[in-house]
Amino acid sequence: MTRYILNRLGQSAVILVLVSLIGFVVLNLAPGGPLSQFALTPGMSQAELDRIAEQLGLNRPLLVQYIDWFSRLFIGDWGRSFRDGQSVLAIIAGHLPATLLLMGTSTLVSILIGTWVGVMGAVRRYSVFDTLATVGAMVALSIPTFWFGLVAIYLFSLNLKWLPAGSMYTIGDQSIGDYAIHLILPVMVLAFVNVAIWSRYMRSATLEVIDQDFVRTARAKGLPYRRVLIHHIVRNALLPMITLAGLQLPTILGGALVTETVFTWPGMGRLFLDSIGYSDYPVIMGILMFSAILVLLGNLMADLLVGLADPRVRLG
């Protein structure tokens, strides 16, 4: 088991090197670059620009820049933001709680509702409920998130004035209730799509289990309906969902670009978008590496969990 985990971590290291290299190259190939930001400042001379480039180390060859940046990762120095000189790790740590709150809540809500909708749809296949859930999922998946977010703000915030239009808290309040009220709209928008996705997967996973011989055996034993459903059908249908949930880890911590932007939520998604706007390479690379690590960790965790939940799976 330990050996298996070490093996997987070794593979992950190789993947991380590749991801960082590709990311670094692509980023530097993009037109513009950090210096063009400074060039916009009125009265900026070429000599001053050269000095800035030297200060930030941008005048060195690309390969040297990369090796310098990559080797510093290991001593916990992920670089400093071009914008305000703050350390990249500190910036990420500063934006993480907001994203964790938003994405954690919405993922939890989505998984709970999506699982329930999926199981019920499969158990009562082609019923009115199932048909409505199917049509609803298609609608949810077809509506762009930004549009749905704006409509939600227009309806619940501008017209009905029930909920705040954005940001995470009211300045000066910041009670739990205040956070909760600010959470409702963005969580709703995120859950709308994720419930759709989750329920479709859960429905087909349940349908695959529902006609299996062991379900017939469970019924032949005289077990109550709920016991057959939860202990035999859902328990087995959830196995493939573990892998899917593992893939959610990067989104839970990586944030939602569109939703965070629409609702001015101070999370990772907006940080990423802002950093791209400012060509803040160290922060962009930091977020890229952070997401890559999360993808790899999420996958590893999912595989370990499947090994725990399914006695037929042997890791190693």
Partner: protein, 339 residues
């Protein structure tokens, strides 16, 4: 009532795009305590549907339609008709008064629960028991079905056992509440021949001890001879011949039964090639478009146009306890020449 189960006029239809298609037509039989009735027929003859209809394990009402009666004794000793019960009432009978084992023991056991849990579960939902007590009962059941080192096996998962061991676990689950009736749907078909003999021996043994009635579904006449007291041959959803194993196996009267028996490979015919192995030409008819008259006539070597393809034959008693369904059985008997 002396029989453990009495099925009368049981019919099953499945819903299709063009209305209900009947797959089982008015089957009646009863099984006494300690008796084994074999239900024999080709794939698609309706034998499994019959057993699943009795257990009410088929898709629910609008998808399937079940008519007739299947009367067993409930926990209070009163007769109940399974066909008329709803799911809630059924669950106290299923796994308790009437239990079932299936063809494929690997897929019939839940892969993510231990063998011990799956047996204990069959007890705990019929009797108020502590977990420890249910586990003790599961252990004793594993012992009864002849699993070596039962204490160790309690915590194993189905995929860690051999096919024969898995089927023993299935039997342990079925016998957990000492049912009056055991339905065995081809329980040995997926097993090696030697293991098959062991499982049959075990079932016979347990039946002798507990006195349960067994409905044994198979397409294998060797197995019938081994375990059954009476045999019922099914074709296209109808019983076509029924009688004691001795009568039916040694002097079958219905041409279909004869065809089935002739298609059993025999050791003494080794080396003679295909010539000695009889086959029945054609296939079981489509339930949605059954032939007129006798359902078997298109495949029957003794088909007589004008008789067999006109009037569907009734089930007639040809001697005490031996019934069959053939319009020409008397002629064929006189000719003595049914192949």
């Amino acid at each position: 009532m002396s029989a453990n189960i009495t099925v009368s006029d049981l019919s099953v239809s499945f819903r299709s795009a063009r209305g209900y298609v009947p797959v089982v037509h008015g089957i009646s039989f009863s099984i006494r305590p300690g008796e084994t009735l074999a239900l024999v027929g080709e794939s698609g003859s309706g034998k499994s549907v019959t057993s699943m209809a009795i257990m009410k394990l088929l898709a629910p009402a609008p998808m399937t339609r079940i008519e007739g009666r299947a009367v067993v004794t409930d926990n209070q000793g009163n007769p109940v008709d399974l066909v008329a019960l709803d799911e809630k009432q059924l669950r106290h009978i299923r796994g308790n008064r009437i239990a079932m084992i299936f063809q494929e023991p690997l897929t019939s056991l839940n892969p993510v629960h231990t063998v011990g849990d799956q047996i204990a579960e069959a007890i705990r939902f019929h009797e108020r028991l502590s977990k420890a007590e249910a586990r003790r009962r599961a252990l004793s059941l594993l012992e009864q079905v002849g699993i070596p080192e039962p204490a160790k096996r309690l915590d194993t998962y189905p995929h860690e056992l051999s096919g024969g061991m898995r089927q023993r676990v299935m039997i342990a689950i079925a016998l957990a509440m000492e049912p009056d009736i055991l339905i065995a749907d081809e329980p040995t078909t997926a097993l090696d021949v030697t293991v098959q003999a062991q499982i049959l021996g075990l079932l016979r043994d347990l039946q002798r001890k507990k006195g349960m009635a067994i409905l044994f579904i198979t397409h294998n006449f060797g197995v019938v001879a081994e375990i059954a007291d009476r045999v019922m041959v099914m074709y296209a959803g109808r019983i076509v011949e029924e009688g004691s194993v001795l009568h039916v196996l040694s002097s079958p009267r219905m041409p279909y039964t004869r065809g089935l028996l002739a298609s059993v490979p025999r050791l003494e015919h080794a080396g003679l090639g295909q010539a000695e192995l009889g086959t029945i030409p054609g296939y079981v008819p489509d339930p949605a478009a059954p032939p007129a008259g006798c359902a078997f006539h298109p495949r029957c070597a003794h088909n007589k146009p004008g008789i067999c393809d006109v009037e569907p034959p009734e089930l007639v008693e040809v001697r005490a306890g031996h019934q069959l369904r053939c319009s020409r059985w008397q002629e064929l008997c006189l000719e003595g020449g049914v192949r």
